[in-house]
Homo-oligomer: 319 residues x 4
């Protein structure tokens, strides 16, 4: 049994040095954060491992957009699954809008009048919908015929004027999935077109072929979840098809396990389903994603210099 090492802080300490101290402490929030970084490092550096990342919650309104884009551009991940809200926030920023610093102690009726939509204490300008409506209407013809949600999202990425999560996925050929895309601002804009009697071909089940294929053909899989929801569950489902299930896992959530929902479920539970390998290296980190993500990424940035050109699902056999 290893003793708990008390964390020692020195002046001007780097994030990665602190995380190593946390890893030595080895228990509770601190130890789990240390372990989360080590597991991410291992799965990203493992050339046989395909990395799936799930993104849920207010990551863009919470200031995480650059970090996510960096991770995709570094090809640290092989597949992204996101909520529709995350992609809507991302598209909004790509169209030139910003999110704003606010407070939860506010009269929401006043905020409505001022044209701001509240995401706890981050405010989104309601005008974002006008910009998106124009964008979708303008590009509808090249969007409507895509058969899979992934192709639909890559096309948005291609058309997006500025740097974005979607554009980074498109340009780096990282598949991005969003099963519940109809449940989002982007969905709302598509409804605006449907309501005018237009047709949209995008199929509900189509993406399953691609994500299952990535899992099915992977020698190893690793999963990273920031938040739960559909992104986590959809990746977990794919892990049931992976020959070895997931070999690495990091989950960052504030949801609790006892109510029994997928979002708060401990990764360990996945072993019973064949989603997680019983010998996998995994950790549940109970932490706000906007706290954990910058720390984990800053530590990883120092540990992983490499850009992984071959980490694309289009070349499974090169591994």
């Amino acid at each position: 049994m290893k003793p708990v090492s008390h964390i020692k802080i020195k002046n001007g300490m780097r994030v990665n040095e602190l995380v190593r101290q946390m890893d030595l402490a080895g228990v509770l929030g601190s130890g789990r954060l240390g372990k989360a970084v080590s597991i991410c490092e291992a799965m990203i550096k493992d050339r046989y491992c395909r990395v799936f990342i799930g993104l849920a919650g207010p990551l863009v309104p919470g200031g995480m957009r650059e970090i996510i884009i960096d991770m995709i551009e570094s090809k640290w991940v092989d597949a992204v699954v996101a909520t529709g809200a995350t992609l809507t926030h991302d598209l909004g920023e790509a169209l030139g809008y910003r999110h704003y610093q606010g407070t939860a102690n506010i009269d929401d009726a006043e905020l409505y009048k001022k044209g701001f939509d509240r995401v706890y204490e981050s405010y989104m300008p309601n005008k974002i919908y006008e910009g998106m409506e124009d964008f979708i209407a303008h590009n509808f013809d090249s969007l409507k015929g895509k058969k899979s949600i992934k192709d639909f999202l890559w096309e948005i990425g291609r058309l997006t004027p500025k740097k974005s999560i979607l554009k980074a996925c498109y340009e780096n050929k990282i598949p991005i999935f969003c099963p519940a895309i109809s449940d989002s601002g982007i969905g709302l804009m598509m409804w605006g077109q449907l309501a005018k009697g237009k047709n949209v071909d995008v199929r509900a089940f189509e993406d399953l072929k691609e994500i299952m294929d990535i899992a099915w053909t992977a020698k190893k899989c690793g999963v990273i979840y920031f938040g739960g929801g559909v992104p986590k569950n959809y990746i977990q489902q794919a892990m049931q098809l992976a020959p070895k299930s997931a070999s690495y896992g990091v989950q960052v959530t504030m949801d609790r396990p006892e109510p029994g929902g997928s979002s708060g479920a401990e990764l360990r539970e996945g072993i019973s389903w064949g989603k997680m390998n019983p010998k996998a290296n995994f950790v549940d980190l109970i932490c706000d994603a906007t706290i954990a993500m910058p720390i984990i990424y800053a530590a990883l940035r120092e540990r992983i210099k490499q850009k992984y050109d071959s980490k694309s699902p289009s070349s499974p056999f090169s591994r």
Copy 2:
């Protein structure tokens, strides 16, 4: 200002009597539970109000299936939005499988070998997948051509051999939506068919027309959320289109608001978005859904005798 009345218990007390005492206490969990029942009662009895219910989390593995079916058959709700997991669990039970009482303190690798998938402390037999595969394969031809997810789900309901949530929706013509249906056991079975090269027509955005239309044409709307996730968010999105937004709201969740995700967001936040009417009658109940649902439903059962035959979305103008 009303004083807090201390709850008085008498021997053989009925659930509804206890809930009225909680309402008189008027604060914290107890007061909010009392208020939740009163708001549900008001929205269901309001003949101008269309009621949307969101169902997320392990409601079927947690023993809530009969209650949900009852609410649908009583036509207390006009639209249902559920997670794919809930519908998968429901279909599994309709095919004759059961969930089992277990524990979370278990070796998940052992459970895997025994063929049980763990949902915290409820166990689902893995054989359920075989039954569903047969069911989907056998009925694939009548499922593949449905254009909307709702029609796809109604068709499953029609084909289902026994009483089920899906069958109750189909038979009572209550629309049921599940934007992320591909993220579920049902989705997995559809993938099984896609993988064989078959085609499925179900469209990703199609349902938006119907749910938006129900909201758009409603004189008033009421929302009831057991759990968050896509079901809550999808209904909230529809409320943006409702002429008066939601006039009534009850949310039951264990997720917390501070991390900023939609699942834990207070209903009040919806006012800034135009999802909730600033004068709406609403309450956030912080409680496990499997505790709150039976209590709320037992109290409502005593208060609402009526069956609402006209509470069908196909007759919006009859109200």
Copy 3:
């Protein structure tokens, strides 16, 4: 393995009938609530068992005062441990003050000006302090010489003009402990006297003799925790001295276990400490105490008719 029975609601259902249905469901919040009632019933009916109850959180501002008094007067419990806040709220009400129904969405500076102290959404009139100051000043001479906190609290109970938790303990000779009594409104009033140069004899460690003796001489022990904090921890500590540790345990809390604090710790953890018997019958119920307590008590009220005259710690050998 027992299947999960789906809860069936009938019109006019009694609380106890619903709780039995929950017990049959057998899992998650619902099943745990059912189990909590059964365990409480068993420990109270077990004539060899001494029952310790821990009371933390806003039970009095939340409307639970009558229930607590009833439980004490029924002699269902043999020892009470409470926070200083609970006893302060109780004394305030015994002196004729009330708590009021409010909201958390309020300008606290306005509330301060109006003379109300906020307990989430319950308001306590600040004048309560004046009443308590008079009460303590008036009775100081009979309070100052008590050697143990328990005797100090019993004396307050004796002097209290109306029915109260403290008075019920005094009159029924149920020992009531409050290790952190100095951390409360009552403590503040005692400081008022100390600040005038007066002396108070009450000793910090004195009560340990009595609570340890109750545990030490008990054939069996049962523990019931509404909330965590010092009340839970102090009883758990006594369980280390009980010959068989605790044989029954029910914990109701909203705190989570992962941060590692005592309040959120699962009862199971107590086995490693020798606080909980490895064969004990226990359950952790994740629920707001103001929701769980009335339901548990209403179900117990129907199951346990008896008043336990012999359940007094002064007669340990009569068992």
Copy 4:
């Protein structure tokens, strides 16, 4: 309104640089962590401000001991309030024992047999009690006569063989309070002496004079809470006496506010009580203390070089 700045990570980033980025992001967990550091910095650097720190939860079993000792030795704080468990863990380590890295997925009955007491996933060797019993028995004569808990704790600090939280407080003349000291391993050892018929003079209310005096005579007060419980509540109580209430506040907790307990209460609530100044600079950080403390401290270490020799409560008028 300030826009949310997306956090930018560079290679080899220092903790303080990252925290500044979080502060610029400005919202949610990340923004609050940034703000927490700025508020701590301001209150520690404010020469008119007395800083009170509350310590609850498994800080010592979680590896935070060196950080806490550093903060005390740097005289950044003017008063410490801790749980009895924290001081027991601290004394145990000062006597040469360690805590160990474990897991929560363990058979607690096995752990009991092996002699380890579990604190979620940190293990304390049960032998620690033997060491403490010897220590208390050996030093009983110099401990029994102390009139206040603070003097009792300083005496333990004086007698402690190695560096410790208690010793740091004693040597730097920082008062340390622990109202519920009887609810701890230290309390248990004192009971061992009481049970032999010995007398202990330590008074329950005595410390109130000193902590109230520190608050009462302070030009300004600042509060820092890692965890809730008695430490937070006791300091909050003292703030009612501070002429300006608290002018600065940082709270780090995982408890939620809705159940209404003091531990999870937002600092804002304190305004209604006169505990927090309406113009105070404060923040609630929802985070595991073992994650937040090292980050906050590492950032502060870079920002505050100074040792505050005059920050001692014995010289209130020098400010």
